[in-house]
């Protein structure tokens, strides 16, 4: 019996390790190929480890240089800056807009609350793409095409975020809030001193969702940004791959630059991300 259990443990652990290895190979391979000299990966059998570690792909990708008297670069560093700026602004504004709203929908009594809530839930089923074409025309009239405001604004209509915050805010005991009201605390004070500390963990989770969502967004920035110097990283990488697809090592370096910041943010905060994901799935 114990023997059988040991065999089973070895098989199960082995399979999990194998699955993890297969899952991580593409990411590890992305990094190793990005350090190979140009053309080194186009061999059979495909090399997994660089014979000689080289930084030339990163140099070519990131550093502006003169070619035949004209300045040239892939505009990856500016795109990295754009992506960071947009993601930070989108996250901060998103939190400012949706955390108080989610709390209000959970705990503050006001006329029309239930009806608005129903409308919001109904709004969840509308795919964003339906709004994109008219939004583009509206933004063109408003002069927002090719601006960061144009990239950020549609993402601020965070129905999911409001409902997500509301779900957690529902757990705050009413007695706590009423006691503070009896002590003469203003509603703003209650929100700041009682509600916000209680909602801190899910605010971190939501911030992660918003940041990663903005960082990885592709279709809308692709539509609204027309000038290369305004591109976000995914749009810039998408443009490079459609033109320089043959340069494998260079493309891997571009992918590393795009995925690394996200993984560096995700890994230390993964606990918040995963708990948030489960909070969303057990509702109802």
């Amino acid at each position: 019996m114990i023997q059988r259990r040991r065999i089973r443990a070895i098989v199960a652990n082995g399979l999990v390790a194998l699955l993890t290895a297969v899952t991580l190979i593409p990411l590890v391979w992305m990094v190793t190929v990005s350090f190979m000299p140009r053309g080194a990966s186009s061999h059979f059998p495909p090399p997994f480890w660089p014979e000689r570690w080289s930084g030339e792909n990163y140099y070519e990708l990131l550093v502006r240089r003169e070619i035949d008297g004209a300045w040239f670069d892939y505009r990856v560093l500016p795109a990295l800056g754009n992506s960071l700026l947009i993601a930070v602004i989108a996250t901060v504004l998103g939190l400012l807009l949706t955390v108080p709203a989610g709390y209000a929908f959970a705990k503050l009594r006001f006329t029309g609350r239930e009806r608005l809530l129903k409308l919001l839930i109904a709004g969840l089923v509308v795919p964003g793409q339906v709004a994109m074409l008219p939004l583009f025309l509206l933004f063109k009239e408003l002069g927002l095409v090719n601006s960061f405001a144009g990239v950020i604004l549609p993402g601020l209509a965070g129905i999911f975020a409001i409902l997500f915050v509301r779900q957690s805010a529902l757990a705050i005991p009413d007695e706590m809030l009423d006691a503070a009201r009896l002590d003469g605390a203003s509603e703003a004070r209650i929100f700041r001193s009682i509600v916000l500390p209680l909602l801190a963990p899910i605010t971190v989770t939501l911030a992660l969702f918003l940041f990663l969502g903005s960082w990885n967004d592709f279709l809308w920035p692709l539509i609204i940004l027309t000038d290369q110097s305004k591109y976000t990283l995914p749009v810039a990488v998408g443009a490079i791959v459609r033109e320089h697809a043959a340069d494998g090592e260079l493309m891997m370096a571009a992918s590393v630059v795009t995925t690394l910041p996200v993984l560096l943010i995700f890994l230390p905060l993964q606990r918040f991300y995963i708990s948030g994901l489960l909070g969303g799935s057990v509702k109802g």
Binding site: V16, P46, L108, F110, P134, A157, W215, G248
Partner: protein
């Protein structure tokens, strides 16, 4: 107005205004736009717009590429949902086994692809799937299977993209399923084991009924997700080979922002919206009838 009410409006009005401006208004306009012949000429001057009724929809039904895009998208969903859900469930069952150690570590590693950018990892998979120098064909060679022209053969292109999509997203539902699995009643499991039920029997009659609702919900959401595939073919195949990976959204993007037929493109977006609504509705009805939800 009470103090509470004033605060509530102060807290909700800004985001509600944005939702009205960024979602409600544009969706209403999309309806209007789909009934016009808005094209590149109208982009220069609004007076060139004419009302065409349901003309865009009639035109779409006569467009072969639109039907092709619909069929491709249906294939993406029909193959992709079982593939992705199956991978998630398999990984979750494996991770749920009591003998497995270091679970949090495996969980994070398996989830990592989900948080990466689709564009960046699609680029990586383009090279993994390379016919001559890709790791995948190399692995096939190991198993003495012939190489596949993954992204060059119209019959292999959709499965190839689905391999990538499954790799990228299975971690998400894996986490959801692991949570559902830990809610499977242990006493029932023990009773089934004592009654001599086989491993498959226990899975079929104890585990599956317990996680059924979660499975169904995940499938419904996956269908909606697969119907909205865009970035993967945009980066990996440019819609080819032989238009085998042109999806509905890809078609909409080209129609709208390459040819500037925004009226026509709006009609495409609305058809996709209606399809998603209809399929979701039917799925939840089936789920309710069988009491899975």
């Amino acid at each position: 107005m009470t103090r509470q009410e004033r605060t509530a409006w102060l807290f909700t009005a800004p985001v509600l205004a944005i939702i009205a401006a960024m979602l409600v208004l544009p969706v209403t306009l999309a309806l209007a736009l789909s009934l016009t012949d808005y094209s590149i000429y109208a982009l220069a001057d609004w007076s060139n717009v004419r009302f065409v009724g349901l003309g865009n929809f009639a035109e779409l039904l006569r467009t072969a590429l639109f039907w092709r895009a619909l069929a491709n998208t249906a294939l993406f969903a029909a193959l992709g949902v079982p593939m992705a859900i199956g991978a998630s469930l398999g990984a979750a069952l494996l991770l749920h086994d009591t003998t497995v150690r270091w679970k949090p570590l495996w969980r994070v590693a398996l989830f990592a692809p989900y948080v990466t950018s689709v564009v960046a990892t699609a680029v990586v998979w383009r090279f993994l799937l390379n016919t001559r120098f890709g790791l995948i064909n190399y692995a096939l060679g190991w198993l003495s299977l012939p190489p596949v022209d993954w992204l060059g053969d119209p019959h292999a292109s959709i499965p190839a993209i689905l391999l990538f999509v499954t790799w990228k997203i299975f971690g998400y539902n894996m986490i959801v399923f692991t949570a559902a699995l830990s809610s499977v009643p242990q006493d029932l499991m023990e009773a089934a084991r004592l009654d001599g039920a086989s491993r498959w029997g226990r899975f079929r009659h104890v585990t599956l009924p317990a996680i059924g609702p979660t499975l169904l919900l995940a499938s419904v959401m996956s269908v909606a997700g697969f119907l909205q595939i865009f970035a993967e073919p945009y980066v990996m195949t440019l819609g080819g080979p032989a238009q085998s990976t042109v999806t509905v959204l890809y078609f909409m993007f080209d129609e709208g922002f390459k040819w500037w037929n925004l009226g026509q493109a709006s009609a495409v977006a609305l058809i996709l919206f209606i399809l998603i609504l209809a399929i979701t509705f039917v799925e939840t009805r089936i789920g309710k009838r069988n009491q899975w939800l």
